[in-house]
Symmetry: C3
Subunit: 382 residues, 3 copies
Amino acid sequence: MWIETKTEMEEASRTRASFSRRVLNGLLLCSGDMEHLDKYMKDKSFVLQLAVCGLRGVTRVILANNPLSGGLILGALYWASPWQGLLGTLGVLASTLTAVITGQDSVEVAGGHHGFNGMLVSLLMGVYSSAGDWYWWLLLPVFLGSATCVFLFSGLSSFLDRWDLPAAVFPFNIIIILYLLCTGPEHPCFPHHSVKPPGALEPNATELIALQVIRGIPLGVGQIFACGDLGPSLLILGAVFLYSPLLAVHALLGSTVGTLTGLSMAVRHESLYSGLSGFNGALGCMAVGGFFIFSLWTHLFAITSALFSAYADIALSNLMGTVGLPACSWAATLVATLMLLLTGSLAAYRIPTGQVRAPERNLQLRSQWEAGNTEERESADV
Amino acid sequence: MWIETKTEMEEASRTRASFSRRVLNGLLLCSGDMEHLDKYMKDKSFVLQLAVCGLRGVTRVILANNPLSGGLILGALYWASPWQGLLGTLGVLASTLTAVITGQDSVEVAGGHHGFNGMLVSLLMGVYSSAGDWYWWLLLPVFLGSATCVFLFSGLSSFLDRWDLPAAVFPFNIIIILYLLCTGPEHPCFPHHSVKPPGALEPNATELIALQVIRGIPLGVGQIFACGDLGPSLLILGAVFLYSPLLAVHALLGSTVGTLTGLSMAVRHESLYSGLSGFNGALGCMAVGGFFIFSLWTHLFAITSALFSAYADIALSNLMGTVGLPACSWAATLVATLMLLLTGSLAAYRIPTGQVRAPERNLQLRSQWEAGNTEERESADV
Amino acid sequence: MWIETKTEMEEASRTRASFSRRVLNGLLLCSGDMEHLDKYMKDKSFVLQLAVCGLRGVTRVILANNPLSGGLILGALYWASPWQGLLGTLGVLASTLTAVITGQDSVEVAGGHHGFNGMLVSLLMGVYSSAGDWYWWLLLPVFLGSATCVFLFSGLSSFLDRWDLPAAVFPFNIIIILYLLCTGPEHPCFPHHSVKPPGALEPNATELIALQVIRGIPLGVGQIFACGDLGPSLLILGAVFLYSPLLAVHALLGSTVGTLTGLSMAVRHESLYSGLSGFNGALGCMAVGGFFIFSLWTHLFAITSALFSAYADIALSNLMGTVGLPACSWAATLVATLMLLLTGSLAAYRIPTGQVRAPERNLQLRSQWEAGNTEERESADV
């Protein structure tokens, strides 16, 4: 009897272990870049392929590449505002389809590289529009703007390729500025809100509320997708966590640094509360966290990048605010581009643009590669 | 008798045919790039050579390269305003001579590459000057500005050469902006008109006159040379037609697209009537028409380029109008540069910068080249 | 007796000659790039090495590379204002140390390449601050700004290296503009003076005083280090003369051209008197004088460069003045970069960026090199 009971218990514990292992494996399969999905998708219908590369495109904004995270983010956007969700979906589809039609590199299209700029342009057009939700005429500039992003992405990539730099969100930043300049605040068809610079003096400045400022930190991650609600922002943060916990830490850290920077420069309270102070810092931090192999050294470097991005954002916002324009993510994009160009001891940690995976995977590949190198050296010694 | 009459008739018809053939050949000799002229000019005097390369320079503005077209355009400018004609002539001569003195590549100089920026700078200085015609002090900045264009053209060419991009009219755009910034509207020696942005609201907006808008389309081609009269504009269009009928079609089409874009964004009426809405579209359309081999695909692409140029022009005009500056042809130049960088299925139609000829000739060379390739392949197969 | 006296006299004269030769040799050892010092410094302590490369960094601003000149310049700054001297010292140290910590190329660090941008940022932060001298909070942005210069210098160098262009003072110009934009004139912690554009009309314009204008010429050399006093400016000019008399001539000449340009465009009197009109011309002139081998041809070219820099400075000052920003040395830096890109007969005189020495030494190296070439050719002929 005793033996049997023991065997049963062993079996039960084994079953439990194998179950939890299976769950873990399932989670691991769903996190990271999900490269195994590509093989599976090869013989599927065009619509399904488009959906997957659209979802990958959604996550490219935050330097991730995972269709499930993309689904979560889209869900968060629909949660925050169904109209914004619709605009984002249309934007990512319009620009991905334009890329297919103009015959862009199919690997790039499948990786979602042509979707994220169009999505951001659409979302921001919706946010700045003062015509209210469900204003259907807005779909016209949304389609045109998203499609134009493909041309800019392709052209800028050719240009920046000489330094192995990505085109990043430069196309989005250019198109949204051109759109806002084109229409102006009092345009008969496409009116939009005027933008106040963060350094503008407030006539009735009230006391700063610490809790609101802390609430601005996760909002800073949501503001990358122009989302200013706490719930959806936390869901977006969750989506980043699903792709890579390390990246999520960088996002939060960067947003914190950005908010502290905003505090140090005494920007408008609204800017701190809404998370607008934090999102450039978050992007700057994530860019270094994503494009460099993780180590203590690069971590400090990521914080420097967040700091520089946040200060540059305040400066650019003040400059562009004089003509009523927002600084979008110009600061983080410029600073990240600069950081990728850096020489010195940090350059050794830089991952070539085409080989960037989730930070955890980069770390693993690096270890494997170094182990391989050591083995090779050892076998050569023998 | 019958036989003789028949022979006579045959002979007469043959004579007529040979005459029309000769006329056609003569016309064909005068159209396109007139490369045969270069051989003929080799042992001619310096003044004659300078005249020819100056006239070639005049046509480079509209991406053409034909001394006869250049003569027609100069004639059109003198017709519109003798003072403007004189300024244009001096500008093209000043910058070509500066290029000779500073020892620029002689093939480039002979091709008129160093003349067109100087010419545009001079014309625009004349147009923006509020001191009236025949104000001889203006020749000082005209000479200095035209000469500086050579330095900018040479420097920018070195820079852009890495991507096989032309310096295009960047030097003109830079110099004219610097000049206008330097002097300011109320300068004691060189006063100039302040520029109204196209999006500025009109207090007493009248009804739009359709005929005036249609008249603005050919004026858009003339505005490339800062010429706002209908007759001279049509003559300039004729000069483009002489060089290449295809390019003339692109010019008209681009100007139409630009005017429609202006209508869609509700710009000031004056901007539509004067052709200022159309000229960036025309340039954007011609750039793609000139630098890509003609096909249905590239034709659609040229229209896209015109559209993008026109919208970007409105945006930049609104931006630069806030400090009283005109957007010149920044939009078309930037968009055309971007289009030349494009990857994807369109890149296969791109002609290397040094090998661009008239669009018809490009088409012919491509056919020959493809035929040659097929033959080669066939002979290789045997 | 006679013989002895003669011998004595000969000996005396020989002693005198050898003394003056020794003095001359000593002076020659102290002038130029002092490359012999590098060997001597190799086994010295870190602090001494840091001091020398800091002093080299101080002179890099004026395209020189001589620790003694650096000492003189620092002395001049302390003479003009001890607070400014302190800021300059801290700036050069902060950025050099950052370069050491981030593992920048040690040859570059030793040559002072990472010091000069930080120094300029610190000096200009001090000059624009309206909080008065000895405002210790200012050290915070001084340290941060100087440190950030290293990142910008490293990133921009990677970018510009493709055309063998130096990063020059681009980092300084970017950081100071971002700092001024970030803080704004009425910032609670870091207030600063607003900048008047040079083209601004003066309500009570008085007669121009010729002597003051002439006094502005040497001040133009001092203004490179944001120093507006005559004595220290002359000492700075002396420091340039110690490094290279030719460069000092270029500096004065450029400042003169800049002042004349300011006169021709009728800028504000204050701008002429303070030397602010001259310093961009001086920098533009020195850049060509330093990066091209001296000859009559390049001398004319240097004057052209000074002229262009000075006009571009007025234009940019008017543009940036509309948002209350100074043009710093943007004009000279951009023009010098353009000049280094130039093709044509002048490109033959261009010295590769890594091989630039004092102008006199460049001339000598060129002669030696040409002589070597001739000898080689002769020996090859034999």
